[in-house]
Amino acid sequence: MSRQELLSPEGLRIDGRRANELRRTVCKQSVLGKADGSAYYEQGNTKVLAAVYGPREPRIKSAASFDRATIRVEFNVAPFSTSERRKRNRGDKRILEIASAIKQTFEAAIISTVFPRSQIDIYLHLLQDDGGNAQACINATTLALIDAGIPMTDYICACSAGFIDETPVLDLNQVEEASFETPDLTIAIMPRSGKVTLLQMESRLQVDRLEDTMALASEGCKQIHTIMDEVVRENTQDLVTKYGD
């Protein structure tokens, strides 16, 4: 494994960013016609498309819950998303894990007791993979759910952070993630309260460094929240103006 210098002595990373810089973020809503809600999200070179259907009739009646809506998440990684074309196995645990993590994260935010015995389906498609898949998926899902008008108590914004050469770094790209020595921490917060809904960490990190890394990732989440909020307000304002006349 080639040991590239992930953080140069001047403090620049391999894509030219500083340690606490976020990658370029692009958000779009209502990109699909058929879905009740959809969104397109870009974080640097990672691109995700999210579609939300629901609340609708559950496919398996027995799986329906009597007092709340069940949430189903399907996460697909496109074979052309990585530099080498590779078809992913459907039962790939990594993919299932991200889908399951997203499902459980949003179960906490969606007010599902309003739609008992129904199902909300979230479909995610990873179009280009440059690290930060989980965070991009969560952000895309938030935008799609807002677009679908599904009631939520707050946004859920996610960001990743790591630790390279004694410095916490924000928003890891794929090269940084793939390095075994770099701890990879993904955190999802509800921006208004600042509380953590999702926390996943891989590789080794000193206990006393956890606080700083988490704080940096939360900062990143807040920055992403500002960007997302702007886009949502703009779109909503747009709609309101169109309805107005």
Partner: protein
């Protein structure tokens, strides 16, 4: 598809009321772990059965010679396979449930991603032959904290395991049987231990619902009403099955003796404050220490038994 029945409202409410008073149903305090017992058979190197209360998990380690990955020619492989059967619980019925994926991935991160085994030491002939170490986890009985039991079983089994000795002369590779030469232990960099926490939310109405409430409508309001006031957030260590079913969120922290966190998994559930998470990880370190010592002791137990053979 067999359905696991959810615990009744009475049980969930009672659990929360007891927790409010700092009591758990088996008499433990909220920060106490259950007694962890591990059984080893000296004849079977690398097989450890762990009992954590009623939870029972077996880990067995085996090895074989394979080709290495082309981009990592000098490294051996570590494969972790988990078997979830209906034996452990009616909920594991063959369909990949969230619980199974969560456990399998967390064990993978704890052991493989954190590089606890010396993989370079498993190389025989660079680019051609390396050892592939396989850890099979069998979940036999589910009474909560499957992850804690599984991680401990896995790392103990890896410590206990001995692989056949190999000698390489030029191009020729000879694998020595156990009778010829003593088998060799695996190189272990560090010992990760997993501690699971469960979080509960206490609402005003739950506390008042001891025996009153008109019919069942009072009960429905306490369980599902998200607007009832939350007065307390509680945390317990090493939850039992009932506590896991009644909790609002879970977090598993894997930590080793070098004060390093190897993995954290908290998927959804109750939103937590940063401080609570930091506190939990510090607490996990304290709880992990005696377990790490116990896991390390498996190395000597294997050699001791070999001496008497």
């Amino acid at each position: 598809m067999v359905r696991e029945v959810e615990p009744s409202l009475n049980e969930k409410t009672f659990l929360l009321q007891a927790l409010h008073q700092g009591l758990r149903l088996d008499g433990r305090s909220p920060v106490e772990r259950r007694e962890l017992e591990a059984e080893v058979n000296p004849q079977d190197l690398g097989v450890v059965t762990v009992r954590l209360g009623q939870t029972k998990v077996t880990a067995s380690v085996s090895c074989e010679i394979v080709r290495p990955f082309p981009d990592r020619p000098t490294e051996g492989l570590l494969v972790i396979a988990s078997e979830f059967g209906t034996m452990a619980s009616p909920a594991f019925d063959g369909q990949r449930s969230d619980e199974e994926v969560f456990i399998a991935r967390h064990v993978d991160k704890t052991l493989r991603r954190s590089r606890c085994i010396d993989l370079e030491g498993l190389c025989i002939v660079a680019g051609e032959k390396v050892w592939s170490i396989r850890v099979d986890l069998h979940f036999l009985d589910h009474d909560g904290s499957l992850l804690d039991a599984a991680c401990f079983a896995a790392i103990s089994a890896l410590t206990h395991f001995r692989r056949p000795d190999v000698s390489v002369i030029g191009e020729e590779v000879t694998v020595h049987s156990i009778e010829e030469r003593n088998p060799v232990p695996l190189g272990i960099h560090h010992y990760p231990i997993c501690i699971t926490f469960a979080f509960f939310e206490l609402r005003e109405a739950t506390l008042n619902n001891t025996s009153g409430g008109e019919g069942g409508s009072g009960g429905a309001a306490t369980a599902a009403d998200p607007t009832a006031e939350v007065i307390q957030q509680l945390c317990v260590v090493d939850p039992t099955l009932l506590e896991e079913q009644a909790c609002k969120g879970r977090m598993s922290v894997s930590i080793n003796s070098h004060h390093e966190i190897c993995a954290i998994s908290k998927a959804g559930g109750m939103p937590l404050d940063h401080d609570l998470i930091i506190e939990c990880s510090k607490h996990a370190l304290k709880m992990a220490r005696p377990l790490i010592t116990k896991a390390k002791s498996f190395a000597t137990s294997a050699t001791a038994k070999k001496a008497t053979k």
